[in-house]
Amino acid sequence: MTETNNVLIETVDLRKDFGDLKVLKGINEKIIKGEVVSIIGPSGGGKSTFLRCLNLLEEPTGGQVIFEGNVLDSKSTNLDLHRQKIGMVFQQFNVFPHLSVMDNITLAPVLEKKIPKDQAEKEAMELLRTVGLDDKANEYPRKLSGGQKQRLAIVRAMAMHPDVMLFDEPTSALDPEMVKDVLDVIKKLAESGMTCVIVTHEMGFAREISDRVLFIDDGIIAEEGTPEELFEHPQNPRTKEFLSKVL
């Protein structure tokens, strides 16, 4: 039973409809503590929707999302409290334009975890140093490049000390020369033992850092395995077809 204790997020028959469109058709999946899981698959296959269901940014139509033993999609659950432990990074960065780089990071810890402001700022500076943005602490996001904004978004999430980080195509909106900086930050994070779930189109990256890769197509996990299994010896014809197009 040790394995169950290490399950961080579990989805049970997770389904999501948008009107008549069935986007997720019953996904059963367990994310283990410390695991780095990449999710690949064709556009419109449901991989982003799946990720967004994990912290209930999308409300599932059916099934359950269980985070650290708590059923998230239940009325009695204090969702905000659990979301503090689920960091999320978006394709479009979604940094707060009206707040300085520093305030972007300290806002949530000070507001929701009641951490003293000076302590939060000290910690924010350390985080900024790790991603090479410590000289930008007092700038506003409009002065940052896309890659810098995304690195800010990552440390903003990290400042809440999450137990897992969700990445929703974190490099898809970046100029090519910025991609590496952001991937390096994610890689460092993954290597530090942080549980990561990453929706990505960067196949080389997924292969390099993942413990496990999920191939989501047509609303189900069509195939999963280690990077080697999935990329070298795909079993499902749909996986083969997808990989032949992107590799």
């Binding site: 409290l81 979301r83 689920i86 978006f90 979604n94 806002l107 949530a108 809440m160």
Partner: protein
């Protein structure tokens, strides 16, 4: 033709001044309390209750879809008749102001709603994903960004209200348009109209200019 414009203005300027002050004051009261009421309406509009949505939609549609003058007549004649207690609590003047406030609230609620909707959905998602509560998301993330669109639109609503309050003169309320009635008693018919128009124009043009300054300052901080 009688007296000239300047002659009339120099002779009766305190009357016009008092009228202009009344206009600014009624417009301010209407927009100020209209903003408070309109904010509540907008919050109701953003809530998840379908019943509340339907009620608010009817409210906004009816108020915006009927003339203010009709609303004023209803407030002035019908409401005190239907609810006699109003006669004891409120002056007749208040009923007209109430119509102005309610009218303004419908427009303001739409201004606030569209200001909030103008903020990218990703901002809400980022805030909620950090664990911010719904109310913190609104007060710390959405409103500070929405306010840049809301404030200039509210100021425009104030300008519109300055013109709309001219209808209050119909109910013997001392605002700029009412000075026409006062001076007509002195056989001055055409001169006050041009003076009144000139004063309205000065007020609206100056305010528009101030709004443009405000928008420019907001643009700098973007």
């Amino acid at each position: 033709m009688g007296k000239g414009l300047i002659e009339v203005f120099l002779e009766y300027w305190p009357i016009f001044l008092k009228g202009a002050a009344g206009t600014l004051q009624y417009a301010f009261i209407a927009v100020f309390f209209g903003t408070i009421l309109g904010s509540l309406v907008a919050i109701g509009r953003l809530s998840k209750s379908r019943v509340l949505h339907a009620i608010i939609k009817v409210y906004v549609t009816v108020i915006r879809g009927t003339p203010l003058l009709v609303q004023m007549y209803i407030a002035y004649y019908f409401l005190p008749m239907a609810f006699p207690v109003m006669n004891d609590i409120f002056s007749k003047e208040f009923t007209v102001v109430l119509a102005l406030i309610i009218n303004s609230s419908a427009y303001v609620s739409e201004i606030i709603r569209s200001g909030i909707n103008s903020v990218d959905k990703g901002q809400t998602e980022a805030a909620r994903s950090l664990g911010l509560t719904a109310s913190h998301t609104m007060t710390k993330i959405i409103m500070p960004q929405a306010i840049k669109n809301i404030l200039p639109a509210l100021a425009n609503e104030y300008i519109a209200m300055i013109k709309e309050t001219s209808l209050a003169g119909t109910f013997m309320m001392y605002e700029l348009m009412y000075t026409r009635t006062l001076l007509a008693n002195k056989y001055l018919f055409w001169q006050p109209l041009f003076i009144i128009a000139g004063i309205y124009l000065i007020m609206t043009v100056v305010l528009s200019w101030l709004i443009r300054m405000m928008e420019r300052r907001f643009a700098v901080s973007d």
